[in-house]
Amino acid sequence: MIKILFFAALREQLGSEGTLLPSENISSVEQVIDALIVKNPHWQVAFKSSLLCAVNQEMVNKSHSVNTGDEVAFFPPVTGG
């Protein structure tokens, strides 16, 4: 399985703190997004906005690889400090 997390505005927009995805046929962040949208078609709009992604708590781009057991997080650009 792959653990998926959502934060801040994205979490509120999706109405979800995260989910679990079976890892079959998933090898990249892009494929994670595709699988999430197949499962929840109404999430498509939210994933069209400017989002950041972290795999195992490291910021990555969408072509980054994803393996079973990974933690994949999606969130808006950060605004701390």
Binding site: Q57, E58, F75, T79, G81
Partner: protein, 158 residues
């Protein structure tokens, strides 16, 4: 205590307020080699983009936040000869005037302390997973990231 190499860094994500003097004292304690201390402290302003702000809610990504701050400090240490580094970032509910963030850096030389402190703040603003929700006129809204912050972080890379 910062008396060992691996203890020269303090990172704290906390709801509680912090005391600036205590943090500077910790940076300076048993540290007579570093003559320079540069600090940045950020507070909740009452105005953001012409809206009157009454408070903020700070959310973060537990686990990743600490990792990303450690990484930023590592990058600073690769570029400048610095001694101790403290980063404190508050989370949860904050009011106007409240302290949000503290970055303190010691060094033998002031130029390196200034550069490293500013670098850490610039990177924190674009790399560390914190998000602010503003409370303004009874309404809540998530802040948008500023392009200027993204640009500042890019400057350091060139």
């Amino acid at each position: 205590m910062y008396n060992q190499e691996k203890l020269m860094v303090k990172i704290s994500i906390q709801e509680a307020d912090f005391n600036l003097s205590e943090e500077v004292n910790l940076l300076e304690k048993l540290n007579n080699e570093d003559g320079a201390v540069v600090t940045f402290s950020g507070r909740v302003r009452n105005v953001n983009l012409d809206k009157s702000v009454s408070g903020l809610f700070l959310e973060h990504y537990p686990g990743m936040t600490e990792k990303s701050l450690e990484k930023i400090i590592e990058q600073a240490k690769q570029q400048w000869t610095i001694g101790r580094v403290t980063i404190i970032h508050r989370i949860g509910q904050l009011l106007v005037g409240d302290q949000i963030v503290f970055v303190g850096v010691t060094s033998k030389h002031r130029k390196e302390a200034f550069a490293a402190c500013e670098f850490i703040m610039d990177y924190l603003k674009v790399e560390a997973p914190f998000w602010k929700k503003e409370l303004s006129d009874g309404e809540e809204s998530w802040l948008d990231a500023k392009q200027s912050d993204k640009d500042k972080a890019k400057n350091w890379q060139s």
